[in-house]
Structure formats: C-alpha cells, structure tokens
C-alpha cells in the first residue's frame, strides 16, 4: 500500500498534475527557451535540480521553519540553489547558460517551485517531497522536450543542432513566440482530451 502511494506521488507530476499542461504554471520560461531541444532539456534539468534541492531542504527543516516567515525562508533557499545552478552552468556548460540567458536566474520566481514547496514540501516527509520534486521536475522537462522538439524540427529543421530537414521545408513561425503558444496549446488540448476520455471510460466501467 505504502509503495503504490509513493509511486502515485511520483507519477502525479508526470501526467495527472503536470505543472505545465494541467496546472498551467511556470509557462513564461517554458515558452521562451524551447526553440531547440538542447535548451529545452537544459532548462528542464536546471529547474528539476533546483526543485529537488529546495523541496529536500524545506521538507527536512519543515518543523524548524516558523509559519510566519516561511515565505522569505523559502525564497532564500530557492534563490541560493538557483544561483548555484547558474554558477555551475556558467562554469561547466557556458553554451547552455548563454542560451538560457535571463531565464536561468528567473527560476527563482518560477511558480512551480514556489507552489510545490508551499503546498507539498512544507507538509510532507523528505522522501515524499523528493519524489514529488522528481515527478514535477520530469513532468516539466518532458513537456519542454516535446515542445522544443516540435519547434526545433519544424522551425529550423534541426534536431540537437543536426540538420534533418532541408531549409526549404522549415516554418519560421515555430521558432518565434507565437509558435510556442501554438504548440503548447495543442499539447494542452491533447492532454485534456485524453484525460477526459479516460475519465469517461472509468465512469462506464463503474
């Protein structure tokens, strides 16, 4: 019983409560950086790291953090880890930190992190929180991966920077902001449609 619960916590972020597709939070960075797969995955992993570390630390100290000042403390912790990610990327993957630009430090104010920390990590055990963070982080990352895959392939005809489509068949629209909204909208519609169908089936079975 315990085990299936843990699995549910982890899977929750991947599909059922996917931060981007279902909760629709943390959208600005996800639309801005997803012009190619490298950036999309990089952003997703950077964000996942900050999320895991923040949820870990906050659930660890959840009994020591006074209720009245929990938000400033959350922000300090999240900001510290964001800065660490920024420094590490700057030092070891400069290409990625250049591509992500201002959206890297802006992870601090990404509402996914603040939302999960406030609603989950501050009330649950360390293990559950970390599982939640991994689920949410990967849920964020896979959506970024799909959006950036579509946008890079159709927008510039490349995959991880390797040319796969001839220049003539690319659609510049997808490389720009409206293309991001378009792909994101389609994905959301698809997810909602599938989950509605699944729910209806469940209802029939009953």
């Amino acid at each position: 019983m315990e085990r299936t619960n843990r699995l549910a916590v982890f899977l929750n972020g991947l599909v059922k409560e996917n931060p981007l597709l279902i909760l629709s939070i943390g959208l600005c960075s996800s639309l801005a950086v997803t012009t190619n797969v490298f950036n999309g995955i990089g952003m997703g992993l950077a964000m996942t790291f900050v999320l895991i570390m923040s949820e870990l630390i906050i659930s660890l100290f959840r009994k020591q953090i006074p209720e009245d000042i929990r938000l400033p403390i959350f922000i300090i912790i999240i900001a510290a880890f964001t800065t660490i990610v920024q420094l590490l990327l700057n030092a070891y993957i400069p290409a990625l930190s250049e591509a992500l630009g201002v959206f890297l430090p802006l992870i601090v104010v990404n509402c996914i992190i603040m939302g999960r920390v406030e609603s989950y990590a501050s009330k649950n055990t360390v293990l559950d929180s970390v599982l939640d963070a991994i689920g949410m982080g990967l849920g964020y990352t896979w959506v970024l991966f799909i959006i950036s895959l579509v946008r890079e392939l159709l927008g510039s005809g490349t995959f991880f920077g390797i040319h796969v489509l001839p220049e003539t068949y690319t659609i510049g629209f997808f490389s720009r902001a409206p293309g991001g909204f378009f792909v994101f909208g389609l994905l959301t519609a698809l997810t909602v449609g599938i989950s509605k169908k699944a729910a209806a089936k469940k209802g029939d079975a009953k």
Binding site: Q64, I65, P66, D68, I69, P72, I73, I76, I77, A79, A80, T83, I84, L87, L88, N90, A91, Y92, P94
Partner: protein
C-alpha cells in the same frame, strides 16, 4: 518581542547558511568562469595572432592620425610571457563602416586580419568578409593580408588585391590597416624592440570643408598677396527670375580693396549634383575674367564619394582658370574617384558662377567677354525638365 527576535534569528540563520553555501560554490566556479571569459575574448584575437597564448590590453598607444578612423583597442600578444606582437582593433569608414582586428608581429608583418563588423552592399563590399569569395591568389580577401609587411604599405591592387567591384571598400580597409599597423608597430618598436617604421605616420585623408559665403571669399582672397585681407563688401541686387543653365543665382557680391576700388566679384549658384538641387558653389573672379578660386557652400552626397568634391584638392583645381573657358573632366580638372557625376556638376556650377561674376566685373570696369563666349556649353548631367 521574544517571538519577533526568534523569527529574526531564524531568518538570519537560514540566510547565513545559504550565503556560506553560495560562497563555497562561487569559490570553486569563479576561476573556471574567468578562464572561460578570457578564452572567449582571446578566441577572436587568436584568429589574427595564432602564435600567441595570452593577450594583455594596453592603453598608452598612439591614436590614429585620421579623425575619421579610431583605434578602439590595443592588445599585446604574448607567448610564454614574452611579447611577440600586438593586436589592434580599428574602426572607421569604408564604403559605409567597418571594424577590424589586425595582428602585427615584431617585424611589422601582419599575422592576420579579421572583420568584427562590416556594413556594406551584399554582392559587392560584403565580399570582403565572405569566406567563399576568393581573390586571384586563391585566398579570401582578409587572408591575403596575412604575411604582408606593414612597411610595404597597403596599396590597392599593388600590395594587395581589391575586392572586384568594391574598390572603395578595399581602400577603406587599407586605411584602417595603415592606422592600426602603424600604431601597433610604433608601440612595439618603442617598448619591445620591434622593427622601426620605414615611412612617416599615415597621412590623414583629406576632409571635405564647406564654407559660408563670407568665409569662402575670405579664404579665396587670402591665397593671393594682392587680395589678402579683402572680404565681400557690397551685395549686388540680381534678377531673381534669371536662371542661367537652370541654376539659381543665390547671391552676387562685389569685393573692394582698401581704396574702395572694385577688384573682384563673387557669385553663389545652386544647382543639381548627384541629387536634385544638391549643392551650392561660390566662384570669385577678378577684373581679368580669371577665376581666383571656387569653394563649396553646400553639397548633399555620399560620404567618401561625392562629398569629396568639397576637399581642397578638388576645388583648388579651378583656380586661375578663365571664366570663359569650358571646364571639362580630364582636360581641365580631375574628377573625384568614384564620383564623376558629382564632380562634373560641381564644375558646371563653378563655370556658371564664374561667368556670372565675370559679367558683374564687366559692368564695373572689367574686361569684356570675348565674342561667342556667352553661348558656352556645360557637362550637362541634368535631366530635361
């Protein structure tokens, strides 16, 4: 009170721990990040000075001798700690504008040259920075400069090959190279035992000068001992509906000497140059119908091209010509290179202004016009109205 203090301390504790963590990470990553930045800056310079392993910026170098060209930065190129050359970043006019990096070793040999910025016409000037464009020597335009000695000078189609169809861009680049290599070479010669320059500092390009009516007259008169110090003294009323050769007479004026005797006349006319009503020119003519001089009051044209009709080497060609002779390109004056239409139009204006001025002098005791001189012809580049 106690509760507030407790909250404050808790917050402080979290802040301190976070700070400590950040400091730790920063101490590890800072040197790596710095190394990256230096490498990035050096990567550009390495392409023009491949033999160096580090670069150091210096500031006490000689500035450019040409006001239009500026030496933006200078770096010393070092190998194993000893200075082996210098890299100059030079910015200035080509057909439009360019910024280049040029590396120079201690023998004043160019180790490489690269464009950081080049704005020009695609298919022409931009070929200078096109890796697929090859000169007759089989190299790119910028690579052919590698190995040239700065003491041999940078002369288009003599010491290096111009981009075909873009001579002006190529000349502009040559000027940037001249300034950059001279300054870098001098810096090396002075401080690090580099080879000396074989010639003088590069001459500044002639700048166009525009005159007001009064200044033009003063400037022209000051070139002759007999007229020194004389200025315009009396305007003459002229017929506003009179347009000699479709030009507008803007102003006519008499020049008198100390005793009040009329010695010369100045006339300003406006006409078409490369653009419609694109310029105004003044000519001063003496009592013998000889042009004392011509100056440009106003000209709308391209910098480095038509604007150069306002340089002394162009307008001084009209001094001491007769107001009655035709002014023809090639025989009576040399056109500004790349701007023959502008040059011919300015010459036409000089001719009309001079003939009108000679006419005024005729009324004030000057020589009469020779027979038939009134039906003169111009180079006539204007379109029929």
């Amino acid at each position: 009170m106690k509760q507030t203090l407790k909250l404050g301390f808790t917050l402080a504790a979290f802040a301190v721990i976070s700070c400590f963590l950040l400091a730790l990470v920063n101490s590890i990553t800072a040197p790596v990040i710095e190394q990256h930045q230096i490498e990035k800056a050096n990567a550009g310079m390495k392409t023009v000075f491949p033999d160096a392993d580090s670069f150091e910026q210096v500031t006490d170098y000689k500035p450019s001798t040409d006001s239009a060209i500026s030496i933006v930065k200078m770096y010393l190129a070092k190998k194993g700690g000893t200075v082996t050359g210098a890299v100059a970043q030079v910015s200035g006019p080509t057909y439009d504008h360019a910024t280049i990096l040029v590396g120079l070793d201690l023998n004043r040999t160019v180790t490489g040259m690269q464009f950081l910025e080049l704005t020009d016409s695609p298919g022409f000037g931009l070929k200078a920075n096109d890796p697929s464009y090859k000169t007759k020597g089989g190299t790119t335009f910028y690579d052919q400069l590698k190995g040239k000695n700065a003491n041999d000078g940078f002369m288009v189609n003599k010491t290096f090959e111009a981009v075909s169809g873009a001579t002006i861009t190529s000349k502009g680049v040559a000027n940037l190279l001249k300034q950059g290599t001279y300054s870098a070479g001098e810096y090396l010669a002075e401080k690090y035992g580099g080879a000396a320059a074989s010639g003088d500092a590069p001459k500044a390009a002639e700048q166009p000068v525009l005159f007001s009516f009064e200044d033009a007259v003063k400037d022209i008169c000051s070139t002759f001992d007999a007229y020194k110090g004389l200025t315009t003294s009396e305007d003459v009323a002229h017929d506003a509906s009179y347009y000699p050769h479709k030009m507008v007479v803007d102003r006519e004026s008499l020049i008198k000497d100390g005793s009040g005797k009329i010695v010369a006349a100045a006339v300003e006319v406006s006409g078409q140059t490369y653009s419609e009503n694109g310029g105004s020119v003044i000519a001063v003519v003496d009592i013998n119908r000889t042009i004392l001089g011509a100056r440009i009051v106003r000209i709308q044209d391209s910098p480095n091209l038509g604007m150069n009709t306002a340089t002394p080497s162009f307008y001084n060609q009209f001094s001491s010509k007769s107001a009655d002779q035709n002014l023809r390109p090639g025989t009576d004056y040399d056109v500004v290179s790349g701007a023959s239409i502008s040059s011919d139009c300015v010459a036409d204006m000089v001719k009309v202004a001079a003939y009108e001025a000679a006419g005024i002098m005729e009324k004030h005791g000057g020589r009469t016009a020779p027979d038939g001189s009134a039906e003169y012809t111009l180079n006539e580049h204007y379109q029929e109205e």
